[in-house]
Amino acid sequence: MHELTDLGREMQQELASGDRSAVRFPVHLPVRVMADGLECTAETENFSSSGALFRMSTLLPTGSTVHFLIEIPAGVIGSDVTAAIQGEGKVIRSYEENGHNYSAIVIHDYRFQ
């Protein structure tokens, strides 16, 4: 017997989150981000129903509240009109990698527009 590693614990949390887990989809979409009075554009690196990873020009401060707007072009998900997802979350991690800035957020609330 032994204790779970962080990875194992994360996996168990995902498994235990219900019959389905919050899978991260590698979808790349343009996103408008507003945080701490700063507004900028970014691109999603991956996205799940509970969080997202943004690639952006500036690093967002960890812990800051984020408002985001993701536009889904017409025809992408079965609609002939443009759709959008407006959401609010919190930055849990920001880092630089290979010359790019990344900010990971947890999503607190969202709605389609």
Binding site: M1, H2, E3, L4, G8, R9, M11, Q12, E14, L15, A16, G18, D19, R20, S21, A22, V23, F25, P26, V27, L29, F47, S48, S49, I72, G75, V76, I77, G78, S79, D80, V81, A83, I85, I107, Y110, R111, F112, Q113
Partner: protein
Amino acid sequence: MKPTEESARPIENTETTQVPQPAADTPPAAIRILLADSQAIYRVGMRKVFALESDLDVVAQVDTIEQLFDTVGKYPADVLLIEGGLLSGSSRGIPEIVQLAPGLKIIVQTSANDEAHTVELYRRGVRGIIPRSISPDLLVRCVRKIAVGETWIDNQSVNWVIKAYRSQASALTNPRSQPRLSPKELAIIACITQGKRNKEIAFQMGTTEQVIKNYLRKIYDKLGVSDRLELALYCLHHQLDKPLNSEQATAGIPVPIK
């Protein structure tokens, strides 16, 4: 303790229900344990094992799952030690316990392990699975570990859980595993991603809200998603517009649902 009358009754120990004191010089609160086992000999044995430990208190014990449902709300506990046999024949056992007492950490005692059962137990929120033949020392150690939020799992079960995790994740992101959606289902998805409420979709399609809910549940089950955002992400990832455009349905063209 008399094994004959052990039905959902508290153990006489006033310390078990006390609120932990925050002062630094006071000992930490005891771990409150709830025992659920159909066999009196196991309940008696485990109580004796825990009685030797000052930090472990058995607050109640039951011998059926129905008694357990009644008890979890009445006697707050940190850890539930339940015989696996009490859960057999019912899929609602663990989810109902979790719903009744979200903070309760569950350990299941089983006489035999199999992959599907083990993965399902961990998936449903169980923190540890131990054999019926576990030694007293290991049992005490397991309860302490789980009470502080850790997980108790053997090497074989780790492999089973990892395998289940990988297959679950890949099934959702693998385009080859796309289930077929009907034009009506695709039309409903299009409406969802435009931010329409079920009532609005029902009105647009000339049906009732309940019918839309039923369709939505079926779509969620087919795609393995859990909410509207995950549904939209799934569609984005799999580009579900392609089959839709090849058929007649779009959000702008109401599709009658009978």
